[in-house]
């Protein structure tokens, strides 16, 4: 069959970065082409070129047999290309219907036909299997719901070529299933699909073929995804062997170090308590909205507490603001990188140093620039952060590399006692995940408490000593490493009556 989409020798250079270097491959109608590669390999850049957001510095882009030179996103849409971007692009104050139909709202006598718009969108949402009110504002929805709106927006364009850039990174189990069904249906309709993800299971389930990138270059295209062994994928991607990605080793555990007693908030239905030992890695699993982030934010002083107390080494921690928690040695790496994590226009070094610098001030007042630079460079090396230098604005980094910078911010804290990681590997490549798991192990081995919230079940199972499962704002159960399994965890996470079919 003829290629519906062809990249021919595409190159793209940013100051100090060769993001794409002569990339060529093609995809056919009715095919799902997976794109894999380390963070910063150039995957998103390629999609942005496909979507008309960037112009390539060299090479040809052929869509549907025609060479295309998109001047704007509008041109790409008109040519039948739809992109679901890695960074969600919605207008918070507009409704679901308006967001989905942005740029092509239906009109009647020159006026927007709100009713028709709502009906069209309602129909499409129902068709996909998402239950959302088309009249709701995006600002009132959860991130996962916003992501579903983005997906609906792309599907609504009725495009021939649809590209997904890490669509599942902010989706939970449920929405992920919906998405998978959708992708399969679009494939059966003969559309050409591109699918980027760092989750290999997903790629195996969905993709027919895959293309692997490293450092802006195409390494290889495998025409039949199912034939490629997992280890091969990983080594193509990261350029080395990664055997056991979780790399779990048991640790010496100390006495109880952190204790949360009866924490209450306006949103949680009941007070929550848990305790953990020094040296322990405690996983928190649950569906989106289960209350994991909410609980950790309470502990961290990020949201107002309505009761309860937190004990660290037996001493109460009165955290009325994150600054208090940090001073006590408790840090939290937030789940929403863009809104809660990065200082977009600040440099990589600044983003790393913002919190920990208070320890190394000259005369208690002045910054030690050399020391901060050193620290930034150390982490850039240690976490393999792909950036031309430490002074690069963080917003210019790839999504996964931004995540690593934020992680570095917390790992740089000297007086660390409790490390809370909320979805720490969201958008991170396999190689780097492996690095992060090693770091988690090391931090715990030094006697700290490490809490990891993750919606990726294999991940929490793989790295935790113990697992707490939450459901609807309650702790629904606890599993130790020996008894923890996917089925057991899902049974606790899903609402009563639902089966944990996977």
């Amino acid at each position: 069959m003829m290629a519906a989409l062809q990249f021919d020798n595409i190159s793209k250079v940013f100051p100090g970065v060769k993001a794409l270097n002569g990339v060529s491959f093609e995809a056919r109608p009715g095919q799902v082409m997976g794109l894999l590669g380390e963070n910063g390999a150039g995957k998103s850049t390629l999609l942005k070129i496909l979507g008309g957001q960037y112009k390539p510095d060299g090479g040809r882009l052929v869509v549907d047999g025609q060479e295309r030179h998109f001047g704007s996103a509008g041109d790409a849409i008109a040519a039948g290309v739809a992109i679901i971007h890695q960074e969600l692009q919605y207008v918070a104050e507009l409704t679901v219907a308006e967001n989905v139909l942005l740029g092509r709202l239906p009109t009647r006598f020159g006026l927007v036909d709100h009713k028709a718009a709502r009906q069209m969108v309602a129909a499409q949402l129902a068709n996909i299997g998402v239950d959302l009110d088309p009249a709701a504002r995006l600002s009132d929805l959860s991130i996962a719901q916003r992501q579903m709106v983005e997906i609906c927006k792309a599907v609504m364009q009725d495009a021939k070529v649809i590209a997904f850039d890490e669509p599942t990174s902010s989706l939970s189990h449920r929405e992920t299933e919906i998405l998978f069904r959708l992708v399969k249906r679009l494939r059966s309709e003969g559309r050409t699909l591109i699918y980027i993800s760092h989750r290999l299971e997903e790629l195996y389930e969905l993709c027919d073929a895959c293309t692997i990138f490293r450092d802006g270059r195409k390494i290889v295209t495998h025409d039949v995804m199912a034939d490629v062994p997992r280890d091969r994928l990983i080594s193509d991607m990261v350029g080395r062997e990664v055997k056991d990605i979780y790399d779990y080793r048991s640790r010496q555990q100390g006495p109880v170090r952190l204790e949360a007693r009866g924490l209450r908030s306006d949103r949680l239905p009941e007070p929550l308590s848990f305790a953990m030992r020094g040296g322990e890695v405690l996983g928190f699993f649950g569906l989106v909205g289960a209350g994991r982030s909410e609980l950790m934010r309470l502990l961290y002083g990020a949201d107002p507490r309505r009761g309860g107390e937190v004990l660290l080494d037996g001493q109460p921690v009165r955290a009325s603001a994150p600054a208090d928690a940090i001073a006590a040695g408790i840090v939290l790496c937030p789940e929403d990188r863009k809104e809660q994590g990065i200082l977009a226009h600040s440099s990589v070094a600044e983003n790393i140093n913002i919190s920990c610098r208070r320890h190394g001030l000259a005369g208690g007042v002045f910054l030690r620039h050399a020391q901060e630079a050193q620290r930034a460079d150390d982490f850039i090396k240690k976490l393999r952060i792909k950036t031309p230098n430490r002074e690069q604005e963080i917003r210019l980094l790839s999504g996964g590399n931004q995540q690593k910078v934020i992680l570095a911010r917390w790992l740089a804290e000297p007086g660390l006692k409790v490390l809370i990681l909320d979805e720490p590997t969201r958008g991170i490549d396999v190689g780097a995940k492996n690095e992060i798991y090693k770091i988690i192990h090391d931090v715990a081995a030094s006697g700290c408490c490490v809490i990891v919230i993750s919606s990726e079940l294999p991940e929490v199972l793989g790295i935790s000593d113990r697992l707490i499962v939450m459901r609807d704002g309650r702790i629904s159960g606890e599993l130790d490493r020996a008894s923890a399994s996917e089925t057991a965890a899902l049974a606790l996470a899903l609402p009563d009556g639902a089966t944990a079919a996977h």
Binding site: G51, A78, V91, V112, G129, D131, Q145, R174, I178
Partner: protein, 330 residues
């Protein structure tokens, strides 16, 4: 399949709840103003008389008009400081053209055209040349004011044509023409904001320019149009003003821009873009006018008027603030 239902499980009938809450939100402001109005009617002598109400409305007619387009401008995350100067320039130009041609339509046409050009100029500077909106419109504010002075040689340009005055004081159905024009502006721009692609895209580019661009909205072109409209409406206000004060004055409407922006912000328009309600703007404009009116009725000392105006501004936004908080809790 029950997997699909859980996403909105929290609210049983989301559509209903949402619209009714939204209505309440809009109405709470209006309600607040109505309460204030009733209280003033009973407590302040002469407040509730047709003469006074007409006077009050007339006093905010110009602000009201320009607030409509300023709302769009702020909603798209921009800023326009040049409206006061445009008012002055259009007034002066209109008066001069009237003097030399003797034709009211030509005078009005000239004024509006000048406004359109100024606005479009702002738009091009901001949208295409990417000059910061504050600086760009500050620059045009200065330049246009300079042009008004230069054109008129610093003197008010007298208007002798009685038929032009009609523009400012014809009474239709008990209300002078400028008030009707303002009402028409509110209706037009209300519809524009809420019921046209133009309005929705304006909110979109204010809320998330990148998202709008990726969805194929022609952001630059839209920006230019918004500023162009703003220029035309400011010019219209300037022409009406010159008709009312029977001369084109080069130093008219200084400081006007801050009044208009305040009225909008009071009315809930966000300076961060993406949020605008025409109803709110109406109320914002009315609050500004009512405070001024009542202070003069009560013979408040000029120096204390500063204090009172400041306090009222604060009170209004603090109340709004508390309301929004309460809402979030509930």
């Amino acid at each position: 399949m029950n997997t699909t239902t859980s996403t909105t499980a929290a609210s049983p009938s989301p559509a209903m709840t949402h619209t009714s809450r939204a209505l309440l939100k809009e109405h709470s402001m209006t309600l607040g103003y109505l309460v204030l109005f009733v209280v003033l009617s009973f407590s302040v002598e002469n407040f509730f008389s047709s003469a006074n109400i007409v006077g009050l409305l007339l006093s905010v007619a110009q602000i009201g008009m320009v607030a409509c387009t300023m709302m769009l401008c702020l909603a798209s995350r921009d800023f326009d400081l040049s409206v006061g100067s445009t008012i002055a320039f259009a007034g002066v130009l209109g008066a001069m053209v009237l003097e030399s041609t003797g034709s009211v339509p030509i005078a009005i046409g000239a004024g509006l055209l000048a406004g359109a050009l100024i606005g479009a100029g702002n738009g091009v500077l901001i949208a295409y040349l990417r000059v910061n909106a504050l600086i760009a419109t500050l620059a045009t504010m200065l330049m246009v004011r300079g042009l008004a002075f230069i054109a008129s040689q610093g003197q008010a340009v007298g208007i002798a044509d009685e038929s032009f005055f009609a523009f400012g004081d014809t009474v239709v159905l008990g209300l002078p023409l400028p008030i009707w024009m303002t009402v028409v502006c509110f209706i037009i721009f209300g519809v524009l904001l809420n019921h046209t692609v133009f309005g929705r895209n304006t909110l979109a580019i204010g809320g998330n320019p990148e998202a709008a661009r990726l969805a194929g909205v022609r952001v630059e072109r839209l920006r230019v149009w918004i500023f162009l409209l703003q220029g035309v409406v400011a010019a219209l206000a300037g022409l009406i003003l010159s008709a009312r004060i029977t001369s084109g004055q080069p130093n008219a409407a200084t400081g006007f821009e801050l009044d208009v922006i305040s009225a909008c912000v009071l009315g809930g328009v966000s300076l961060a873009g993406g949020k605008a309600r025409i109803f709110g703007v109406v109320i914002g404009v009315l609050i500004m006018g009512t405070v001024e009116n009542v202070m003069n009725l009560l013979n408040v000392d000029a120096f204390y008027q500063y204090l009172v105006r400041g306090l009222i501004l604060l009170a209004a936004v603090l109340l709004d603030q508390l309301k929004t908080r309460g809402e979030r809790r509930s």
